[in-house]
Amino acid sequence: MTQTVAGRYAGARVPRVEDSRLLTGHGTYVDDVTRPGMLHACFVRSPFARARIDGIDASAALAFPGVRAVFTAGDLNPEVKEAWHAVVGKDVPDTPRPPLAEGEAKFVGDPVALVVAENRYIAEDAVDLVEVDYEPLPAVADFTQAIRLAADAGVVVHEAYPDNVAGGMGGAPPNEETFASAAHVVKANVYQQMYAPVPIETRGLVVEWQAASGELTVWASTQIPHELRAFSARLLGIPAHNVRVIMRDTGGGFGQKVVPMREDMCILLAARKLPTALKWIEDRRENLMSAGQARHVDGTVRMAFDEEGTILAADIDFMQDIGAYPTPYPVLTTAAIGMFFPGPYRMPKASFNYKTVFTNTAGLAAYRGPWQYETLSREILLDIGARTMGMDPVELRRGNILRCDEMPYFSATGMPYDHVAPADTFEQAVKILNHEGFRKEQREALAQGRYIGLGFSAYIEPTAGATGNLATEGATIRMESTGKINVYVNGGSTGNSIETTVVQLAADALGADIEDVGTIQGDTAVTPYGAGAQGSRSGPMTAGAVSEAGAVLRKQITAMAAHRLGVEESDIELGGSNAFVREDPSTRVSFADIAYRAYYEPQQLPAGMAATLEATARYTAPTPFTWANATHACTCEVDVQTGQVTLTRYIVSEDVGPMINPNVVEGQIAGGTVQGIGGALLENMVYDDDGNPLSSTFVDYLLPTATEVPTIEYGHIEIPGPGVGGYKGVGEGGAIGSTPAVINAVNDALAPLGVTVTRLPASPAALVDLIEQAAK
């Protein structure tokens, strides 16, 4: 296997370098950026789920004091040169994505016009003055009816897709003989509601165009500075080297900020028509109405078992709601649900089939663990199977979960698992929980009429997926003239602490004291290209880039030190921001002296030795996937009179390889886990039958707060991955495993009442309804 970097800082709970500025209110988020004469944008949005736009009268708005411009589709849309996204590539046929609604508004919140004014207050006043002549049309509000509505009533979201189906895919057909002959077959319909990333900082950007120089500067709330730069250049048809994207702090993304959306296109296009910078800061209603949706899958899952409960085959057949304007192209990303469905289990036969359907809702966008439904539906079904076969869910999983000694292992859908041991995280979680103890407690509680339950969920997760532009990451490390070290990486941190981990890794790579290392991120003018903070890749990929650039710089430092100390390079050690002779550490030269010599006395260097004290490298992932894995275990109590679910314990045992910084790892797990808890119990982006969004404020869209979440207990298994340092990604896992763990705990608690939740979220009202039905 690969050697892991035994470092002074890597693996330690190093305090974050980001924190002092963020704790004192001195971070720089996009809304904190102001430019001379800056103007403010606000969108006119459709109140109809679907309506023909017969005309737009902006005269009253334009006459309003302080209003500078009102743009409509005719002004902006024709200016688009190219609008493809790197994560999909330019050769894949894309779904429609006009900047402003063209001819027809296709969801409530669809941007129809763009008002530009001297400040946001005036812009909002003017939005109310824009007269749009709508002819309401029948809409597709319920994605499960999308195909029927197209066929029966001709209600179609996009003319180019007359059946409302964007696409789909089927692997090998289900092995029906196995299902027919198996000792046990279980089947369930699992419906997952629509919910969304909901970062506390909404989307936004400031765009400044300088016509004379042809330069475009973009301050953005983004996870992908370099790809936003490339996208902007393509969109406007200007050279990328004339585009500079700057992001210092971004207030959360969780996928929402990995791909530029329609509003971003509008602001980029509009700024080019304005003499000064243009700022757009999305408000919360806009964010909940139009920043994209996630999950929302309806499917049927089946599993066949033998007498002992060994899995023989599994099948998943599902449909995902992609709304009106999915970003990016949704058909391929949805395939992941089918391909990862076998999960961390021995599953000889597995099949999947799916469709993605358009509706008159915002549109599918990336969200932490986009394929989560595979784990949700599989883990719920496993518990149903266990109950059906009279087994404990723990026993059923124990008998089927993959062990380290079985690696490498190819899943029935062709996924090449390796460097991972699902059985280890599972057994660790069972141990931390004290499974037997809980079952005893549960029997006693039931005797007193209390309903408590336990839920498990295990998954295997592809991190640092090395496809397309995600396969490499760059880093530049420079020893400045002072001997201090700066690490330049793409960054795109939205809270993933990459500033801190990069400093830890660089300090170790060069033997520098951590105080002597800084990092510059998020400015495309000075950082090498990188694919940004997405796909649980920042840790492993950036570690690789830092390691490779560090090795080159280390050699340069060593060479200069050896000459200075008159010894062989092989005698030189680096440590404590010094270079010293291994046998005689007192013979040393500081990094500061080395830098002084290189920058200020280069002629003192031996002939032929370059004065270079910096290195740039681009790391390529060694494998298509770096497999991480975790098991979640959750206990809860259900108040069967009100339907209230109280989570009592929560355990995550996870393997992300060696941890660069355990605080960061646990922080990522906790944040993801609580988002998944929200998805299980609280968060629900509801549309009514007419396609009106009913959760467009924080009053109606229920984020978990400190009172709804339990203390999370962590267990760590550190099986090195294939890449540098053996590091694996950790960004998404928590959000994948927690939803099914919570639902399984609720189902375990309510099993004595014959209640099984398969429709999310498990709201109190929904639970009470199920309990009443079961009683009848």
Binding site: V44, P47, F48, D128, P136, V686, D690, S696, V699
Partner: protein, 208 residues
Amino acid sequence: MEFVNEFRVPVPINQAWEVLTDVERVVPAIPGAQLLSVDGDNFTGTVKVKVGPITMQYKGNASFEDKDSSAHRAVIRADGKETRGQGNASAVVTAELKDEGETTSCVLTTDLTISGKAAQFGRGILSDVATKLIGQFAERLEADLVAPPSSETPTESPRTLSAAPQSESGASLDLLGVVALPIAKRVLPVAGALAAGLAIGYLLGRRR
């Protein structure tokens, strides 16, 4: 969303029909309604509905779909646009009078479609609100019908029998609800459209 509201007026059917199709007498009875213009087949009006701090004003026009004076049945389609904001409301109101001798029952069937903020915050108590508004309408109309006011006004005061489901008609309607809270636990503006429909509807009645 459909609402059925019924009320009685203590007059014979022909008298009721006359009054109910008399713009000048009906409009003042509609809560918050105001006639803007009467232009051949086209009538415009506004309806302003206030609920606590919330005001929703719709400016509407209406088209007349059916009026059968023998069956005493009128169907009106009304569309209203928010005078502030981008919201819309449209209603198809069917008014049917039933002869009950000395009294006449009026059944109003209202098919309401709302868009904009009103629809996003306010579905929860729409039927409650519609019922309330029609109740007010009925009271005022009755007062008008029994004018000149005599000391022995009818003992049976108008009752509003709301046939509208108290949102118990299953999950779909529950989803139309809005969660309680500081913003707009309950927003009435939707009722504006209903009233608008009525207003304009009865204005139309005048045309014959």
